[in-house]
């Protein structure tokens, strides 16, 4: 909730906001580049200080700090640790003993092999690295998962597979997904918010029927995608 919006470096980026994200569902934040969606996500992640009067709270009234897991556009794998080491990065940073068995099973769930778990990030392809990032996010086992255009850096087929995979594995968690790809939003989200205007404010958009991940071939979905693209294109000066 941001009663007075958020300004970064003096420029108003986000306008007055009051968003409620339903638990256990996927909410997509859509918008053209620079519309402030990443800013909003970073705010929720605790990476930006919340301005006066604003709050980021869970439905129990307490702050969400410590209850979020963050997955960015770059895989952000530590090049000096192998795949297994990266998956348990959170425990390592918190100074706790990692649950290696759980880590290994997550690595398998994202579709990587036992042999892969000993490789270094430099030896993996982009798609494989993003899978590792996903495993790491799941390892954190947090109720809220924030994703900032997580699949935009990989090619279309891989992106498609990753979308299906993450929809399956993240089921039941509260996901805030930032994306600039309308198709991705339509496939994965229970609710779509489009950020527009300067300062940006969110607006709800109709979501096609069916549970995510929705098939891309669905004509209703394709029509919605066309409409969204038009709408996003208008916002671009």
């Amino acid at each position: 909730m941001l009663p007075r919006g958020l300004a970064l470096a003096g420029q108003p980026v986000l306008g007055t906001l009051d968003i409620t994200v339903s638990a256990g569902s996927v909410t997509a934040l859509l918008g053209p580049s620079g519309s402030g969606k990443s800013t909003l996500l970073r705010l929720v992640a605790g990476l930006l200080p919340v301005p006066a009067g604003g709050r980021v709270i869970g439905d129990d009234g307490r702050s969400v700090a410590g209850r979020v897991a963050y997955m960015a556009q770059q895989d952000l794998l530590a090049p000096w640790r192998d795949v297994l080491g990266n998956v348990v990065m959170g425990a390592h940073l918190r100074g706790l003993r990692p649950d290696l068995n759980r880590a290994r099973s997550l690595i398998a769930e994202v579709g990587l092999t036992e042999a892969d778990s000993e490789k270094m990030p430099a030896q993996l392809s982009g798609g494989m690295r993003q899978r590792v990032a996903l495993a790491r996010t799941l390892m954190e086992d947090r109720p809220v998962v924030l994703m900032d255009e997580p699949f935009s850096a990989v090619d279309a087929p891989t992106r498609h597979r990753m979308q299906s995979l993450s929809a399956r594995l993240l089921a039941g968690r509260t996901v805030l997904l930032v994306t600039h790809d309308p198709l991705e939003a339509l496939r994965l989200a229970d609710r779509i918010l489009v950020l527009g205007g300067t300062p940006a404010v969110p607006a709800d958009v109709a979501v096609p029927a069916g549970r995510p991940p929705r098939p891309a071939a669905d004509p209703a979905l394709l029509a919605a995608q066309a409409a969204l693209l038009e709408r996003l294109a208008e916002a671009v000066p």
């Binding site: 963050y70 770059q74 952000l76 000096w80 990065m89 940073l93 100074g95």
Partner: protein, 259 residues
């Protein structure tokens, strides 16, 4: 290894050719042959001096690297101290060695101590700045991720910044390895009774150009050996840093192409 030898032979031939072509007098640039003669005639004396200089170099390198790392870590971990530590770091580089050399000999005597101190001072700066730079330039995304994972300030420094900065530190150490011989030799020029730098001074005073160049040659060999040894050690210590110029050497990884 073979390529190195071929390169070395080529250089020696070039040297000989230059001397022969330009007819430069031997008291300015002796031919490789004369230098080899001087080297063989006094190999035991030169070896003795080389061992002394070598020890100074290694000790200076170790001490300078350690202090440089400590300085870099302090600068990062102590923002308040940074304001006056950073100028101190820069000034340490600007002071010419012969200005402080007499002070060092006053405090540390005429033995190896003052030479090691001088080498340390010369090595300290490249290591400190390289490591500090690396620590500062940690990829912000990694820091963000660590922050969301609840990493403490200590964990941020030691488990994120430091490992990420190791390639930068390695660069600084390579520079230090290249510069260490100079540090030791300059220290010897300014006040010592042993070592290759001292030998060069003495040969200079006696117009013995061949001995001077023989000492110089041995020093160059030591500098090369040190650099390559350091490079190899660093590449082994930081194997995850992909080096596009040396990939055939990464034999610890398999050659599977990424999918």
């Amino acid at each position: 290894m073979i390529r190195g030898l071929i390169a070395a032979t080529g250089l020696v031939l070039l040297w000989q050719g230059f001397v022969w072509l330009t007819e430069v007098p031997p008291f300015l640039l002796p031919s490789p042959f004369r230098v080899a003669q001087a080297l063989l005639a006094r190999w035991d004396i030169i070896l003795g001096h080389a061992l002394i200089t070598g020890t100074e170099i290694l000790l200076g390198l170790a001490l300078g690297a350690l202090l440089g790392c400590a300085m870099a870590l302090t600068l990062v971990a102590w923002p308040a101290g940074r304001r006056w530590l950073l100028p101190l770091l820069l000034v340490s580089q600007a002071i010419p060695v012969f200005a402080i050399a007499p002070l060092l000999t006053l405090w540390l005597g005429f033995g190896m101590g003052s030479k090691v101190a001088m080498a340390t001072m010369i090595i300290f700066f490249p290591v400190a700045t390289a490591f500090y730079d690396g620590l500062r330039r940690t990829e912000p995304g990694l820091l963000d991720l660590a922050s969301t994972m609840g990493a403490s300030r200590g964990a941020m420094l030691w488990r994120v910044r430091v490992p990420a900065a190791l390639p930068a530190l390695a660069s600084g150490l390579r520079v230090a390895a290249g510069v260490a011989p100079i540090g030791a030799v300059v220290g010897e020029w300014v006040g010592s009774s042993a070592g290759l730098g001292y030998l060069m001074l003495q040969a200079n005073g006696r117009s013995q150009a061949d001995v001077m160049f023989a000492a110089l040659f041995v020093l160059a060999l030591m500098a090369l050996a040190l650099w390559f040894a350091t490079d190899r050690l660093l590449r082994r210590a930081i194997p995850w840093q992909p080096d596009s110029l040396f990939s055939p050497d990464l034999h610890s990884f398999n050659d599977r192409k990424p999918t």
